[in-house]
Structure formats: C-alpha cells, structure tokens
C-alpha cells in the first residue's frame, strides 16, 4: 500500500459520508453534541454558511447567525465527532466563495437571494462534497 493510501485509509475512518449537499450561502442547522459530565445533549445552531474551506479530513465550516443584533460565528471541522448532523434549511444564491461581506451588512442588504427564486441557479447544482 502506498503512503498516500495509508493516510487516506486512516482518514476514511473519520470522514463523514452522510453530509448533505450544501454550499456557501445556505442556511443550515448544525446539531452540536454537548457533553456535560455523564449527560449528553444536542444543541442546534442555525445560521448561514459563510465559508467552507479545506478538503477531506481538514474541511472547515464557518456558520454565522445574528442574535439580538450581535453577530455570532462558529467554526467547526466538518468531520468533528462533536457534530451529530447537518440539516439544510434554505438554499441561497451566493456569487462569492466566501461571504465575509455579510459581516458589514445590516437590514435588507444582509439577505441572500433564495436559490428557489434565483433564476440562474437550479436545485441540484454540482456542489463540492465533503
């Protein structure tokens, strides 16, 4: 077995295969495992994906939401075992790979065009998968 195959076979144990299709701009629910002593509970973080970078085992996600006019961003490795699952809530039409400009926007200009109404895009686009 080649060296790269060894690394990949080790990574394959960790890389999740059940991640739904989603890309930058989409609103998703991240089901977050929280362990408190013996107990374990799930917390859901809903927000817009503003960045998705890296590939394979190193893929990292930035999700942003606004709580009481304060922006909250969370960064997760997609393959972290602390994430139980992802749910796609809404697909949006993003024309940038990274939506960092959203941080400066307030009011109407913060909205993203919905992919359902966006004429240029159709559901089921080829999207980079984790």
């Amino acid at each position: 077995m080649g060296q790269q195959q060894i690394i990949e076979s080790l990574n394959a144990e960790t890389i999740k295969k059940d991640i739904p299709l989603f890309d930058v701009g989409d609103t998703i629910n991240v089901h977050n495992r929280i362990v408190e002593g013996e107990k374990e509970r799930i917390q859901v973080f809903q927000g817009v994906v503003i960045s998705r970078k890296g590939r394979g085992i190193n893929e990292i996600l930035v999700v942003r939401k606004v709580v009481d006019d304060i922006g909250v961003e969370r960064i997760w490795p997609i393959n972290s075992p602390l994430i139980a699952k992802f749910e796609v809530v809404r697909r949006a039409d993003a024309r940038r790979a990274k939506l960092y400009y959203i941080r400066e926007r307030t009011g109407k200009s913060r909205r993203l065009r919905d992919r359902r109404r966006g004429l240029k895009h159709v559901a089921g686009l080829p999207v980079r998968q984790g």
Binding site: M1, Q4, I6, I7, L10, N11, V35, N58, N79, S80
Partner: protein, 231 residues
C-alpha cells in the same frame, strides 16, 4: 520489553478523540525488524541487540553485509541499528527474531529519531534566528547580516581566532534530530503503523528510529507512574 524499532515516516494527518479533540498525528510505518546480532559482555564488552529493517537489492548491499544478514536468516537489509539492553538481558532476544509494533504495546511515550530536511547554505537569520540589522536608519545592503562576530580578545574569541562554535552562516538541515516524549496515539499491528502526536523531523518516506522514551518530562512521567499503578 523495551525495544527500538526502525521504519519510515508516512506523513501527517489528524485523528479525533472521543471527546472531539482533534489531535495532529504523524503516521509511521515501523518494523517488522529482524534481530541481526546479539552482543554480550563476554564477546563485545557490552550488552546490545542489533536490528535491521528495510529491503535492499543484493547488488546494492555488500557481500559482508549480506553474509551478516543471512546469519540471522534474513534477506539483505538496508538499515541496521543497535540498542543497549541491561546486562544479561540480551539473552531475552534470539537471532533472527522479528520485532514489530506489538513490542511497543503499552508504551505511552516514544522518542523518534529522524533526519531533518536539508536547507542548503543558509544565513544566520534562518539558521540561528538572528534578528538581522536595521531595516532603515542608514543601514545599507546589510539588513540580513549577522553583525559583529566578536573581537579576538574577548570571551567570544581567543588566541588568534573566534571562539569555536560561533553561530554563523552555513549548511542547515539534513542532520539527525530527535523528538522526545511523543504521545503514542494509536498502534495498528496489522499494518505495522504507529501514530504519534505532533510532527517529527524529516521528509515523508524518511528513515526513522523509534524507541520508548526514557527521560520523560515531569508531567508525562507522572502519567506513566499513574498508568503503572493502575495495572
């Protein structure tokens, strides 16, 4: 049984603990090594075990080395190293015995000896982390120079020359580097893999020597003592 093993660096990746902590790991392929010689106090003046690892074409080896390996019943081996054992303990090993990662089972920390990547001829800033000279204030064409290297009469130099070992420009890298006290993250006996926490010196595919840590850092020594007490 405390053994040294030989192998190669495969590369780096990350693994997650059950608590969700990402651990950077270096993957090493170590063993199986063949015991090629057993040295005892009577014959050699000290007790040690010599091991060999790695395939080599017979035409690239030498007749004496091939003969040496054949004595242990092994095909020609590329690398040979020896490790000391306590007096009288060499009898625990037999000639031609195979040592694998299995023999490292239960080891919490290992030292990994590798050869760092060669950097060629480098200046003092890269090689010794000197700060260089000013960027401005009248400095001309000397921004990366080492500055004064001392006079001939100070402690920095004596008797018509500079003190030996003065840090200067020169060849950097391609030297033996030992990284001590690396956590053993996982042992894969089937594939002869050893995952250690953190980076080690050298390029992928580089030859490495792995041995159980003897001189442990304080906090790690406490952990080892705790594990031993738990048994």
């Amino acid at each position: 049984m405390s053994v040294t093993l030989l192998g190669k660096k495969i590369g780096m990746t990350r693994v997650y603990t059950d608590a969700g902590v990402s651990v950077p790991v270096t993957v090493l392929e170590v063993g199986p090594c063949v015991v090629t010689q057993i040295k005892t106090k009577e014959t050699d003046g000290y007790d040690a075990v010599q091991i060999g690892w790695g395939e080599i074409k017979p035409r690239n080896s030498t007749i004496p080395m091939i003969g040496h390996d054949v004595k242990a019943g092994a095909s020609p081996l590329r690398h040979h190293r020896e490790f000391r054992v306590a007096e009288g303990k060499a009898a625990d090993f037999t000639l031609g015995q195979t040592l694998t990662v299995k023999d490292l089972a239960g080891t919490l920390y290992v030292d990994v000896v590798g050869t760092s990547k060669g950097k060629g001829f480098q200046g003092t800033m890269k090689r010794w982390n000197f700060k260089g000279l000013f960027a401005s204030h009248g400095t001309e064409r000397k921004h990366r120079s080492p500055g004064s290297i001392g006079s001939l009469c100070s402690n920095r130099g004596f008797g018509g020359g500079l003190k030996k070992g003065k840090k200067m420009s020169g060849h950097m890298g391609a030297e033996q580097v030992t990284v001590r006290n690396l956590d053993v993250v996982r042992v894969d006996e089937e594939r002869n893999l050893l995952l250690v926490k953190g980076p080690i010196a050298g390029a992928n595919n580089g030859f490495v020597e792995v041995r159980p840590s003897v001189r442990l850092y304080k906090s790690k020594a406490a952990k080892v003592a705790k594990a031993a007490a738990g048994k």
